[in-house]
């Protein structure tokens, strides 16, 4: 139908100072109402201290078929992890 409110993606920062996290979406006529509605839909039990809303149409996502070329190159770079290196016990905690 022509008059359907647009869809918004909702991001919420929890109590403990972590990043805003995507929690879901909802319909609202504008950003202000999206925030008001997000408060009622996603934070009824103090799940957050801050809300971001973004129009769903404004989000660009990577395509699932690109999953291989996008993420596989990181697979064989195990030297990016600290556990790759053997440090003798005598050196102490590092």
């Amino acid at each position: 139908m022509a008059n359907e409110w647009p869809l918004w993606e909702i991001f919420i920062r929890g109590q403990h100072g972590l990043n805003h996290r995507h929690v879901g979406s909802l319909h609202a006529p504008d950003a202000e109402m999206a925030i008001n509605n997000a408060r009622d839909v996603y934070t009824r039990r103090k799940e957050g201290v801050s809300i971001w809303v973004a129009r769903s149409t404004e989000i660009t996502a990577s395509t699932p078929s690109d999953k291989g070329p996008m993420f596989d190159p990181a697979e064989d770079k195990i030297y990016r992890h600290p556990t790759f290196y053997n440090i003798p016990d005598e050196v102490g905690n590092m």
């Binding site: 008059n3 359907e4 979406s25 006529p29 839909v41 039990r45």
Partner: protein
Amino acid sequence: MYAQNVSTGTQGVRDADELSPEEAAFQARIDGNIKIEPKDWMPAAYRKTLIRQIGQHAHSEIVGQLPEGNWVTRAPTLERKAILLAKVQDEAGHGLYLYCAAETLGISRDELMNKLHSGEMKYSSIFNYPTLTWADMGAVGWLVDGAAIMNQVPLQRTSFGPYARAMVRICKEESFHQRQGYSIMMSMVSGTPAQKEMAQDALNRFWYPALMMFGPSDKDSVHSDQSMAWKIKMNTNDELRQRFVNETVPQAHYLGLTIPDDDLVWNEETGNYDFSQPDWEEFKAVLKGNGPCNRERLGARIKAWEGGEWFRDGLAAYAEKAAKRRVAA
């Protein structure tokens, strides 16, 4: 359950060698417990079935507000009123989480609404029964939300990502619903003889409709196999119904209430309660639209939708104007 008798549009489950390479890869992901996400390839029948199932589930949450909303203004204390209001508001939230999950499959919110209002999509049979006394608020929370939990907890592991994530949110909130219902029942049975009688009467009326929530018996449930292969159904109807009876009977005994079933008996051998089946003819009639409250429920939904149209349009018009003004400025 909240989604009963969902058709998959398929004839049984096909063997692995009958699947196309795409279908086989899809099934392998499901078998490996890898979540399917909205942009991933999926068989058309999987998409269609999920829209039906999640849509029906969402409609149940929304229509399910009506029998309880009926008692908000008549709750016996201010505290009970606030609790019931919070519970009903949660159900609205559940509906919204689920509608959004369904929309990721390519159906719009308005389409879903229209399909509910035209009767093309169903909601759970349970909400077509009336809530006649305050004790019914106890029975609904205890039994109806209790049955819903039985079904929703395993669905947190369902194969479709957005559905599974909605279920995780919902399950976090359901326990409060069941406990507030049981707490009403505890108050009623420790009240006057008339109040205890009300509690028993509510159990009598809601017991079999609650058993029907799990859907027809496995032998009559033609779409179960495909849905289970796709992991959009995690347990059979009879399994969940049995689990529900096993958990609920001791809770009724604690209240000093009697389950309205003369054949209910603990079976030492199977480790289950044997119990009577609900009247499946009644179930079919309710699904067809001939339950005690079908017309009233659907009427209330349509009235709210049509009566709210000017308001939705007004807000949309305001948003459009404000956006234009921002561009001009």
